[in-house]
Symmetry: D2
Subunit: 371 residues, 4 copies
């Protein structure tokens, strides 16, 4: 069959009146890379002009991603040709090295890894075990969760249109599900004590060959991992603390417990937050807080019954649920996403759309896939 055509278009973005936005993907061989290709190849305002992977020399994309054969794209060791933006899907530490040069070349960067998510440089040695090589760039990065930082994304987008390339640190998968679920409570200053118990499919662990990720090891088993030490804790605390700044909940956001579990499925994260509120709260007030936060959001739906990850599979959608337990007085919140879309590639594209003045949902319109 013929390839999905990536005609040199005639799109109508702010910055590219005469054509599509030229996008490169650095680190296109992993699962996030594959999702970026899948979504960007069909994005109405984008032309994918380059994909890179280590030691790739024009390999057809299906040699790495058989499902993408019909895109007729190829992988090279480096991007060649001009790009307006790059998505980085690299191991932590690797993006930190490359971003300053890309920015210097005028290229807007969406980093899918953690290297530009944390504000405090000290968090890198503490949680990731490396000194950030370019702490001076951290302040320039926007944490790319549009539901929380949309104004900032639009602002760096305006600067980009004026010639200053933007840098987005696209959120981690667990923080996305968790912060979406807890943000209305944090903003309202209601959280006094927070335990987060999350469950993830295994695609979040990446595509590297590891014996503990073999099918036979993962199937028919569940376990907790990263006990008291999962790196995403830093992001979750940073964002909740920022949301709760100036409220009685400001301190509670620090010192939370985050326990992720690996479950036998490929995609999906469910994050359950068990919260002791600072004061008694009625279900009606809770409902109002969540409605206010999300009624106008294109990708977040507040639901009245317990949501499943299967309700958002393959899409950029999230579902959020919040309930007060009349017996204990605690609040339960649940957030579900597809970790590779809203938790990675889709969210990066959502931020990219804002930075480039596109419709926020461009290229992300696909409904979830079920069953």
């Amino acid at each position: 069959m013929a390839s999905t055509e990536l005609a040199p278009g005639n799109s109508a973005t702010t910055a590219h009146p005469a054509g599509r936005i030229r996008v490169g993907i650095i680190g296109a061989t992993g699962y996030v890379g594959g999702e970026l290709i899948r979504l960007l190849a069909a994005h109405p305002a984008v032309e994918v002009v380059g994909l890179t992977g280590r030691e790739r020399r024009g390999d057809p994309v299906e040699s790495v991603h058989p499902h993408l054969a019909t895109t007729e794209l190829a992988l090279h060791s480096e991007l060649d040709g001009e790009v307006d933006a790059v998505f980085l899907a690299l191991p932590h530490g690797a993006a930190a090295q490359r971003v300053p040069d890309l920015l210097a070349q005028g290229v807007t960067v969406i980093d899918q890894g953690p290297d530009f998510r944390l504000r405090d440089p000290a968090d890198y040695p503490r949680w990731y075990g490396f000194e950030h090589p370019h702490p001076e760039v951290l302040g320039r990065a926007v944490y790319g969760l549009p539901e929380v930082h949309r104004a900032q994304l639009v602002a760096v987008g305006a600067a980009r249109a004026a010639g200053t390339p933007a840098l987005v640190g696209s959120p981690g998968c667990y923080p996305t599900a968790t912060v979406l679920a807890l943000a209305p409570l944090a903003r309202a200053g209601i959280i006094a004590d927070v335990v987060i118990d999350a469950k993830s499919g295994v695609s979040g662990a990446g595509r590297e060959a590891k014996a503990e990720m073999l099918y036979a090891e993962v199937n028919e088993s569940v376990k907790a991992y990263g006990v008291f030490s999962h790196r995403h804790t830093a992001e979750i605390e940073q964002e909740l603390a920022a949301l709760a700044a100036g409220t009685p909940a400001a301190d509670a956001a620090r010192g939370l417990d985050f326990l992720p579990h690996l479950i036998p499925m490929t995609r999906g994260i469910l994050s359950a937050g068990h919260v002791r509120p600072t004061r008694p709260i009625a279900q009606g007030e809770l409902d109002a807080l969540y409605a206010e936060a999300y009624d106008d959001e294109p990708f977040v739906t507040v639901v009245a019954s317990s949501p499943a990850t299967g309700h958002v599979l393959g899409s950029n959608h999230a579902r959020v649920f919040a309930r007060v337990d009349p017996r204990s007085g605690r609040i339960l919140v649940i957030g579900v996403i597809d970790n590779l879309v809203k938790g990675a590639a889709g969210q990066g594209i959502q931020a990219f759309n804002l930075v480039f003045g596109l419709a926020e949902t461009a290229g992300l319109e696909a409904l979830p896939l079920a069953p």
Copy 2:
């Protein structure tokens, strides 16, 4: 969030210059119904004007299909309002009763069930256990496999534009994978002896509560079923015999063995055909036959290494593979599809597109989802 907008169209004229085609889905509560909604709600030329389910009275779609909440559609017990076309996703026998009335009302029908797939009325009592109530309509139906019957679909489309509504019997899931894999051989008259050994995910069994389809029953197990009696055998034989008509293979298409297996996955069919050819054939000749058949097809890709169902998940794509065994002289062919898309809803929409003069790929552009 706001719903996926279904612009209040202004369709209606035969050619629909001013608006979208008004489509209803009868039997929208099962898995094929859900897929039709998912795909048609995003179809650029369609307005979904009605969904039906038994005893539904305006129920929001998420009460049945939680993943489709953002479409903001609802289910009713009957279609009300005018439609240009309906998709039927009903148990076998039920569509046969309703189609004549729909046609009489000028509505084009895409039937996703088996009631209009078989040419010979005698095949219904033989394979399905019921006498067809309207055998006179069978001759009017087109078997909706575009790769084999495109000209017919276009022809009934032309008649439709001239006022005669069309009737499409959309192929079964196993026949789709199997006929696509074998068609070039059948057409060339090369098949002398055919064994088809197929493997399917369980979504093909539908959404009805049956103990043997419980997760705990299906998981970690594989079994053959429908031994020597699976109803899709009739369709496969009908289509292969028609393709091979006038060749030495004409008889071989009858009396084939078809053995389907249920495997622990939700979506996907892999059909392996083990063929004794009528004469020795070289790999190069085989490659040429398949290239000729599929090089211009938008949804069928001939691949050089063994294809997986995971390569087409969630999409209307198929992969086909054919190899001669130098040791035995037999030919092995493999076809893989997503049973709910190319094997059901997607294929129905592909035929619908042809019948309504739309781009064949309209609404079906999504790339497969992996991992």
Copy 3:
């Protein structure tokens, strides 16, 4: 092949020097019933003399449990012939009706359902929605968790040998994993605030045909259920409160939050307890508490790294893990079991062994199955 022989034996138990203990299983068609057959058919001191299922008339066991064909057992609508003990695997409410008669006939009863687990009759209408028909019998029942109530089980066993049949209410699956994980803390009076976040395979939901338990619904998805209302909450609170009686933690055991999740696997429960201790505690003290509780237990192993349900699959073993978070001061405990063995049939047999004066591990020696 020949059947697994259930010779009328010549075993050597305390109470039955001349033969095997004659055991019946009432409700043998479900998953717990199947596990009871699997384990009891190979039990060295047991003769399975009867299996019942509704409207069964001598049906071979493989018509219901194909994996047990080689036992050559059959199912009848009622037990006929004398039995020393029965295991009941019935829906809640059904056992409560039958047990008084069985006891009156001198038959020892191991009830695998909830009808004799709760001490307070008021808990039945509150959590299960029915008035207990025989509240006077509740006080006679022993909660069959040997690691907590071994002395009681031995005591009713002595009474049984003296002529008074015993009644065991075999614990629920979630309470087993949860109470084993929390018992040392509760007994030491250390728990001040308890959140339990549990994950279960679907076999716990039983074998009844329900659409939401279909493979296609469960696979590739996780969701919480029974939010604030799961019936096992009552059992967990009852047991923790009893363990903590007289300590500062006595009240904390009431008003806990229990959130179960359904995950895509067949067997296994992981229960994570997030506990705010009444006072700061060091890891060493925690380790000592758990070592004291479990070092002599044949089926509970305290582990130093996060346990997986796959480590106990198909066996009566449990793993328990406890850690203090130095950052937050909270304690995390995790318990894992196979819900159908240690969480149901195996645990019932363990209690049965104690009641009949057998080796506690008799018939339960199988090691876990992995991968």
Copy 4:
């Protein structure tokens, strides 16, 4: 908890009145090694005296096999101390190097790999890509399928008792399921044309970290592999040809097509044989052939409805099914096993039992696990 006790035996004499048979497992870290430990640790006549793994220095078994923690065994780089028998679970080619020395030391060897399965030395370079280093030993090895070669196993057992250590080449997983399913037909000389289409869980691929065996790659997908080249073809042809020697089917056993598929499950193989018989055959004759072959077999059950791998999970049992298609005249046979038990470790132990004059079922009594 206490370890599973392995009494400090004092084995060695033919009848072992004074102690257990001392067994070592070389290559105990993989899946077959783990199964050998699981089964042999509970074997009533065996003392596991040594486990080896590369660069292991007394590592507790749970560092490799967490499910076996309670055995309290350890792994070393070499066996030390005397053994009566060793099981080898090594990559192909590695066993061939070590076996002559072991035999010279008087140790009976059960090789779980392919190095001593094939009679014709030329099959090793042809199918496995290496020259067998000790072709002179091949003639001494027995193909360890007791249902076909029991007399030979007993004979080498008698020789072993007289001082000549035995060598067993334990069959591959696919050949076990396939030969059991086809043996009665081959022996009766009825097979004229054979296509074998098999489906396997992934544990057969072993425990080595390979990207294509990651959970996310295997889940929700099925594919054929080893097209026309799977190494087990050689074993299947060898055994069927031997069974059919002197019959009209002798040649048909050569040049068969064997197509294995990988399906998303951990354990289990289903092998479907599609056979064109040499002459028409009635179902009754077929039934008689299978009854004659298997009625006295402890581990093979002939079933009347299509068997599932889930019916034998975790056990040494096999199910076999054979049917004539009245439409086509072809015969369909199906065999199902657990690839790690009857297809590997369990079958090795079954042969070991015969060689050591034990009950053939010793240590293999566990019933299948379902669901």
